[in-house]
Symmetry: C2
Subunit: 157 residues, 2 copies
């Protein structure tokens, strides 16, 4: 899994802390975490396309959370950034070589290997869907929100 997920989740946290009234540009978020702006912008745009963030142009523009932190799950952010594909890709090798001799009816059902791997991925997705940005906020160090707001005011001031 790429670093994009870490970037995306931390950016969402920062946006949650500075609050609804404020927006942050790619440049400011990049500076916040010392990240390469062009790469970061790709992740932020992916979050906009997935409906996790909104983006507005203009002097007071920038990125904001599209909905309250308790309505944004880790799965939302991971799916936006990593795409909807399953990590395990089945290339149906069961049908090749020796498998070519099997009757076609045997392949009507999904391959047991891919079913088993998918079962594990579902457990992973369920766990990500059960955790929200609000949960991450609740577990952050107590001084983190105020520090985020101070940094934001200074950078904006």
């Amino acid at each position: 899994m790429g670093e994009g997920v870490e970037w995306g989740l931390h950016c969402c946290l920062v946006l949650a802390w500075i609050g609804d009234d404020e927006a942050l540009s790619t440049a400011k978020l990049a500076r916040w975490f010392e990240l390469p702006p062009a790469y970061l912008n790709k992740r932020l745009q992916a979050l906009v396309r997935a409906g996790v963030l909104t983006s507005a142009a203009g002097a007071r523009g920038g990125f904001r959370l599209a909905r309250p932190p308790e309505k944004i799950t880790l799965m939302d952010v991971v799916a936006a950034i990593e795409g909807p594909e399953e990590a395990f890709r089945c290339s149906e090798i069961r049908q090749r070589g020796a498998g070519a001799e099997a009757p076609a009816s045997e392949f009507r059902h999904a391959c047991g290997v891919s079913v088993a791997m998918r079962r594990a991925e579902l457990a992973w997705r369920r766990e990500l869907a059960a955790q929200t940005l609000a949960d991450l906020m609740a577990e952050a160090p107590p001084s983190a929100p105020a520090r985020a707001r101070r940094w934001h005011e200074r950078v904006n001031g």
Copy 2:
């Protein structure tokens, strides 16, 4: 996740079906699934290093399961092939930029983002560890084991 997991699991299944008394070389397993022998061999060697397979030289040599199918979990095979690293890699961006102003004590605990991502990976690992090669065998098409043995006899005969 690479195709190696699919290859590894199917090879283990075939070795389970032909039984303890028989072994298969890389060349035969590659032919079985029409896979590139050199790449397949790397996966098989990884399974040997992880103690999932044994490998013996000689005319009757080749790969065998190192233990009964009910003692080999999907996690064993996935860890052997994909390595022990977690899919989510935390690069501690929380400590950069704005984070550099936080007291060091804040970073004594693991980052909440990586804890949350790790929790999901644990769910995935638990699910893989709960499924064995014997489970995969039980869910395979009823004619698959006999067909595997016939193919093996023909290729060996």
